[in-house]
C-alpha cells in the first residue's frame, strides 16, 4: 500500500456536503476501501478518477440530505404554514404603523403599476385583432426635395391600388380609402355632420377584420351609393327601425343605400370610423385638377394584405419600379415604402400629411416614460418594504434566538420570514386591484384616457401581478431573513438590544439614497415637463387665437352662401371680421412646390400653402409687414397673386420680394408676390415655422373663420347661428373655438405632464412614508442614547441636527448621481420640440430643496418628540 496517497479531499467534502449523516461514514469507508484497492491494481490516476465518479454516482434519493428532521418531522407543511401565518399576523399587528406604511406603500406601488401596465398593454395592442395582422401593410411614400428634406406621407396616389391589385401575385387583397372629411347626412328630419367617414371598397372589409353584424362583407360596398354604418350611427338616424335598405342623403344631393351594419370598431384600432361609403361613389371635388388615374395625387390610403410568408420589401421594390414607369418623365416619381400594420399606430409620428381625424397615432415617449415611472414606483415601494422589514425585524432577536434554541433550522426560519413578507405582498396586491380600479375610473375622465379595462384584460394581468408580488415579497424579505436567521442563538438572546440599532444600517442607507435619487429625478422631470407644456401653451403664435370661431361648411353651401353669409355677419356689431381658408392653424397644411422665375436657382422647392379668402390676415390677426393683402380691386388676384411669409423670403433668397414672379399653381401664368406677412405658427409648436404661401381659393374650401368681439362667447354663437339659419335654413352650423382647437394639439403633453405629476407625487409620498417609518424606528432604538446625551447637557437643537445630518448628506450625494442622468433624459425629450425651454440650474436646486423640505418635515415630527422626551423616562430601566 502506498501510504502517501489519499483519497481526494475535495471529493470527500463534496460527498459529505450532500450525503445524509447516518449513511456518510459507512459509504465513505467503502469508497476509501475501493480507492486503495484501485490504487493497488490500476494506479493513482484511475483510483482518484473512480473516487470522483463515485461521489457523483452516489447522488440519489437514499443518500441526499432530507430538508426536514427525518424521524422527528411532525405535522407537515400545513401545520407549519398555519404557524407561520399566525406568527406573521402577531408580528404585523404588533408593529401597526410599519405594517400600514408597508402595505399602503405596496398598494400604491402595485396599483400604479397595474394602471400603467393596463395603459401600456392597450398602446401595444393596436391593430393586433385583425386576422393574420402580420400580413397587412400600408403603402406610404416619401419624397426628397432639393434641399434634402425628406417628407414622408401615408397618402398615396389613386391609381396605385387598382394598378397593383391583380398584377402582383403576393397581394391577396388590396384596398384604398379616402377620408370623407365632413359630410352632412340626413334621414327624414334628422340631419347631422359626420366626421368619421371613409370612401372604401368591399376589399376593405376583406383586408381588415371589421366584421359586419348585418350584410355581406364581400359585396356590401360594391355598388355605387352604398353605405355601411355602425350600429350606433344607425340608431341615431333610424331609431328602432331596420336600417337595411333605407336611403340616407349625403351632402344634400347623394342618396346612399344602407347595405350593411358594422360591429363596433375596437378602441385599439388605428382606423376609427362610423361609416363607409362605397368607393365608386367618390366624386372628385370641383376645382381639383387631377383624376383617379393619377400617379402623383397623394390623397388616398392604400392597404394590402399579402400572402402568408411574402416579403413586404420585395413588393416595395416592385411598386417603385411601377411608379417610375407610370410617372410622366417631367416629374420625379414618388418613392414608396411599406409600413407593417403593427408599426402604424406607434410608428407614424414622422408622417406629415393630413390624416383623417379618425386615424389615431400613439407616442413612444409616453410609453417609455410611463413604463419607467411604473418601475421606479415599484422599486421605491419595494425598498420601503425592505428597509422597514430589516428595521423592524431587528426587534425580533429574542424570537429568533428562542426558536433556534428550540431546534429551528435556518431554512425554516427563512421560510417563516419570507411567508410574512409574501403575505403582506398579497394583501397589498388585493387592495391594489381595488385601488387601481377606482383610480382608473377617475383617470379616464380626468385625463381623457381613451381605453377600456374589462374583466378579461384584468384577468390577463393576474399571473403577471402574482409574479411581481412574489418577486417583491421574496426580494424584500430575503435580506432580513438571511440576516436574522444567520445569528447565533446565544448572541441573539443575550445582546438583543445592543445589536439591533445598527442592524443593516448600511443597506438602509443605500436604499434610502436610491429613493432620494429617484425622488429628485422625478421632481425635476415634473418641473421640466410642466414648464415645457406651459411654455408651449404660452408661446407667441404670430396671430391672435382668442375670439376666433372656426366653422366647417360643406363645399356646396360655401360656394352658394358664403358671400351672403359674410355680408350679413359683418352687419352685426358682434362680428369684427370674416374670412375663409382651406386649412386652419394647427392642422397639417398641404405640401406644394414653389420656384422663382429667374435665370439661376430656379429649382422647385417644398412649401406649405393654404388657399384663403379676402381679409384672412386681418381676421386672424396676422401682421402684414410689406405689400398688401388680397383685394377685390385687383381682379387678377385670384389667379396671379401670392402672399408669403418672412421665412419664405429668406428660403427663396429674395431681396425685393414684392413684385417677384414665382411659379406656384400657375393656372394663368406665374404669380406675383403682393405681400409678405410676419411669421406665424400655422402648424403645432412641435414644428418650426416653415415656408408658407397663401393664394386665393381655386377649389371649394370648407373653413370659415370669424373674429368676434370679446365678451360672452355663447352670445356670439347665437348670433352666428341665427344668421346662418336665415341664410341656409335647416342645415346645422358646427363651430369650434380656435384656442380650444389649438390646446388640443398639446393634449399629449398635457396628459403626460398630468400623469408624470401625479405619479411623481405618489413616488415622493411613498419615499417620504418610508423615511418616516425608518426614522421613527431608528429614533426609537436610540432613546437611551438621547437620554444619556441630554443628561450630559445636549440641547434639543443639537440633537435635532445630529438626527438629521446624515439625511442631508444622503440627499446631497443622491443629487450628484441623479442630476446628470435626469438632465440627459430630459434633453432627449426636449429635442422633440422646435420651441423648447432650456433646463436651468434652478430646476435642480428647487428639486433638491423640495426634497430636503419634505424629508426634514418627515423627520422633524419624530426627531422633535424624541429630543424632547425626559431622560428619566428612558433611563430609569437601566
Amino acid at each position: 500500500m502506498k501510504a502517501n496517497h489519499k483519497p481526494p479531499k475535495l471529493a470527500e467534502r463534496f460527498f459529505k456536503w450532500y450525503c445524509r449523516n447516518e449513511l456518510a461514514d459507512s459509504i465513505l469507508g467503502d469508497l476509501e476501501e475501493q480507492f486503495y484497492y484501485n490504487l493497488e491494481n490500476h494506479g493513482i490516476t484511475k483510483a482518484k478518477l473512480y473516487y470522483w465518479l463515485n461521489t457523483f454516482t452516489f447522488i440519489n434519493r437514499y443518500t441526499l440530505r432530507r430538508r426536514s428532521m427525518g424521524k422527528y418531522k411532525s405535522g407537515g407543511l400545513g401545520t407549519m404554514l398555519f404557524h407561520h401565518l399566525l406568527i406573521s399576523y402577531r408580528n404585523l399587528s404588533r408593529h401597526k404603523v410599519f405594517t400600514i406604511i408597508n402595505v399602503f406603500g405596496l398598494v400604491i406601488g402595485l396599483a400604479s403599476c397595474l394602471l400603467i401596465a393596463g395603459f401600456l398593454n392597450n398602446e401595444l395592442s393596436y391593430d393586433k385583432f385583425h386576422e393574420e395582422s402580420e400580413n397587412i401593410y400600408r403603402i406610404n411614400h416619401f419624397f426628397v426635395d432639393n434641399s434634402g428634406t425628406i417628407t414622408k406621407m401615408a397618402n398615396t396616389a389613386p391609381a396605385l391600388v387598382p394598378g397593383i391589385r391583380s398584377l402582383f401575385p403576393e397581394i391577396k387583397k388590396a384596398t384604398q380609402m379616402r377620408y370623407a372629411r365632413r359630410s352632412l347626412l340626413a334621414y327624414g328630419d334628422k340631419s347631422f355632420y359626420e366626421t368619421g367617414g371613409f370612401y372604401a371598397d368591399s376589399s376593405f372589409l376583406e383586408v381588415f377584420s371589421f366584421p359586419l353584424a348585418v350584410g355581406d362583407k364581400h359585396r356590401a360596398l360594391d355598388e355605387p351609393n352604398s353605405v355601411v354604418m355602425s350600429k350606433q350611427m344607425a340608431a341615431k338616424y333610424f331609431g328602432n327601425d331596420d336600417p337595411m335598405g333605407k336611403n340616407i342623403t349625403m351632402n344634400g344631393d347623394i342618396n346612399l343605400e344602407v347595405t350593411g351594419i358594422l360591429e363596433p370598431v375596437p378602441g385599439n384600432s388605428h382606423l376609427q370610423f362610423d361609416f363607409l361609403v362605397s368607393f365608386t361613389s367618390y366624386i372628385i371635388p370641383e376645382g381639383y385638377r387631377s383624376d383617379l388615374t393619377s400617379w402623383s395625387w397623394a390623397g388616398f390610403l392604400s392597404y394590402v394584405r399579402l400572402a402568408e410568408g411574402s416579403d413586404g420589401k420585395v413588393l416595395e421594390e416592385k411598386i417603385n419600379n411601377m411608379y417610375k414607369e407610370m410617372t410622366p418623365p417631367e416629374y420625379n416619381p414618388d418613392v414608396t415604402y411599406v409600413q407593417p400594420l403593427s408599426n402604424i399606430y406607434l410608428g407614424s409620428g414622422d408622417l406629415v400629411d393630413d390624416l383623417a381625424s379618425g386615424i389615431q397615432s400613439g407616442n413612444t415617449f409616453t410609453i417609455y416614460s410611463l413604463g419607467s415611472v411604473a418601475l421606479l414606483i415599484l422599486l421605491i415601494a419595494g425598498f420601503n418594504f425592505m428597509n422597514l422589514s430589516v428595521a423592524v425585524s431587528a426587534t425580533r432577536y429574542k424570537e429568533i434566538g428562542l426558536r433556534k434554541m428550540l431546534g429551528a433550522e435556518r431554512g425554516s426560519l427563512i421560510s417563516q420570514l419570507l411567508t410574512e413578507s409574501v403575505l403582506l405582498g398579497f394583501i397589498g396586491l388585493l387592495l391594489a386591484y381595488g385601488f387601481g380600479w377606482a383610480a382608473f375610473e377617475y383617470l379616464k375622465s380626468a385625463l381623457d384616457w381613451n381605453f377600456t379595462l374589462d374583466i378579461a384584460t384584468i384577468s390577463l394581468s393576474i399571473p403577471f401581478a402574482v409574479v411581481v408580488t412574489l418577486l417583491v415579497g421574496v426580494g424584500s424579505g430575503l435580506y432580513p431573513a438571511m440576516f436574522l436567521s444567520g445569528y447565533k442563538a446565544v448572541t441573539a438572546l443575550k445582546d438583543s438590544v445592543k445589536n439591533s440599532a445598527g442592524t443593516g444600517s448600511n443597506l438602509r442607507k443605500v436604499l434610502t439614497a436610491v429613493q432620494f435619487c429617484i425622488s429628485i429625478a422625478l421632481i425635476a422631470a415634473t418641473i421640466v415637463i410642466t414648464k415645457q407644456y406651459q411654455y408651449l401653451s404660452g408661446q407667441k403664435l404670430g396671430f391672435e387665437k382668442e375670439n376666433v370661431v372656426v366653422m366647417k361648411i360643406l363645399p356646396d353651401d360655401m360656394s352658394k352662401y358664403y358671400d351672403a353669409f359674410k355680408d350679413r355677419l359683418l352687419k352685426s356689431n358682434h362680428i369684427v371680421n370674416v374670412s375663409r381658408t382651406q386649412r386652419i392653424m394647427g392642422e397639417p397644411w398641404p405640401i406644394n412646390m414653389i420656384s422663382v422665375n429667374r435665370e439661376t436657382d430656379n429649382e422647385n422647392k417644398r412649401i406649405l400653402g393654404s388657399q384663403v379668402g379676402y381679409d384672412f390676415a386681418r381676421t386672424m390677426g396676422i401682421n402684414l409687414i410689406e405689400g398688401r393683402s388680397f383685394s377685390k380691386e385687383f381682379s387678377d388676384d385670384a389667379t396671379r397673386s401670392i402672399i408669403v411669409n418672412e421665412t419664405t423670403v429668406k428660403y427663396l433668397g429674395l431681396e425685393n420680394p414684392i413684385g417677384q414672379d414665382v411659379n406656384y399653381f400657375n393656372f394663368d401664368g406665374p404669380r406675383k408676390i403682393i405681400g409678405v406677412v410676419e411669421d406665424f405658427n400655422f402648424l403645432s409648436l412641435h414644428h418650426e415655422i416653415e415656408p408658407m404661401a397663401l393664394v386665393m381659393p381655386f377649389v371649394n374650401i370648407q373653413n370659415m373663420v370669424v373674429r368676434v368681439t370679446p365678451g360672452n362667447l355663447s352670445e356670439k354663437i347665437d348670433v352666428l347661428q341665427s344668421i346662418w339659419a336665415e341664410v341656409n335654413p335647416g342645415v346645422p352650423l358646427e363651430y369650434r373655438f380656435m384656442d380650444d382647437h389649438l390646446d388640443r394639439l398639446y393634449r399629449n403633453e398635457a396628459r403626460l405632464s398630468g400623469l408624470i405629476f401625479g405619479f411623481s407625487g405618489l413616488t415622493v409620498l411613498l419615499a417620504s412614508m418610508g423615511l418616516y417609518g425608518l426614522i421613527a424606528f431608528s429614533l426609537n432604538q436610540r432613546r437611551r442614547e438621547v437620554g444619556i446625551r441630554k443628561v450630559l447637557g445636549a440641547s434639543v437643537a443639537s440633537l435635532l441636527i445630529r438626527f438629521t445630518r446624515q439625511y442631508v448628506i444622503l440627499i446631497g450625494l443622491s443629487s450628484l448621481v441623479a442630476i446628470p442622468v435626469v438632465q440627459f433624459i430630459l434633453n432627449q425629450w426636449l429635442e422633440g420640440f422646435a420651441y423648447r425651454i432650456e433646463i436651468s440650474w434652478w430646476v435642480y436646486l428647487v428639486s433638491i430643496i423640495a426634497l430636503l423640505v419634505i424629508a426634514l418635515f418627515t423627520i422633524s415630527h419624530q426627531a422633535v418628540s424624541a429630543a424632547l422626551v425626559s431622560p428619566v423616562k428612558v433611563l430609569k430601566d437601566e
Binding site: D25, S26, L28, G29, D30, Y37, F58, T63
Partner: protein, 109 residues
C-alpha cells in the same frame, strides 16, 4: 404473499445471505466483480442494498472498522426472514419457468 425481487437485487441478496453477517457494500461489489465477472459501481450496489432494506429483506447495523478504511465503520447487512422468503419464492418461480423452457433450451429430446 408475493415478494418482488429484481434480477440485480436477487444477486445482491444472495451474496448478503452467503456472506452471512460479514456483508457490506465493498465486499458485495468485490464478489460480484470476481464471481460474476462483470463490473459494477459501488453506488449501484449501495442503492440496491438500501432498496432491499426499505423493502425489509435485509437489515443493517454499524460495525467493524478497519485500518484500510481510514478507521471508518462498515454498515453490515444481514438477511431477514422476509428476505429469505423472497429468495425462495424467486427460486420457485425460476424453477417453474425452467421446467417449461428446458425442452427448448436443451434441445427437444
Amino acid at each position: 404473499m408475493k415478494l418482488h425481487l429484481g434480477k440485480f437485487e436477487e444477486i445482491v441478496l444472495l451474496i448478503v445471505a452467503a456472506q452471512h453477517g460479514e456483508a457490506y457494500g465493498m465486499s458485495i461489489t468485490k464478489t460480484i466483480e470476481e464471481e460474476l465477472e462483470r463490473s459494477v459501481t459501488l453506488s449501484s450496489v449501495h442503492t440496491s442494498l438500501y432498496r432491499l432494506e426499505e423493502k425489509g429483506y435485509v437489515k443493517s447495523e454499524v460495525g467493524g472498522a478497519s485500518e484500510i478504511r481510514g478507521g471508518r465503520s462498515k454498515r453490515l447487512f444481514t438477511i431477514t426472514e422476509r428476505g429469505k422468503e423472497s429468495l425462495k419464492q424467486s427460486r420457485q418461480i425460476g424453477k417453474k419457468l425452467w421446467d417449461m423452457a428446458s425442452p427448448v433450451v436443451y434441445g427437444q429430446s
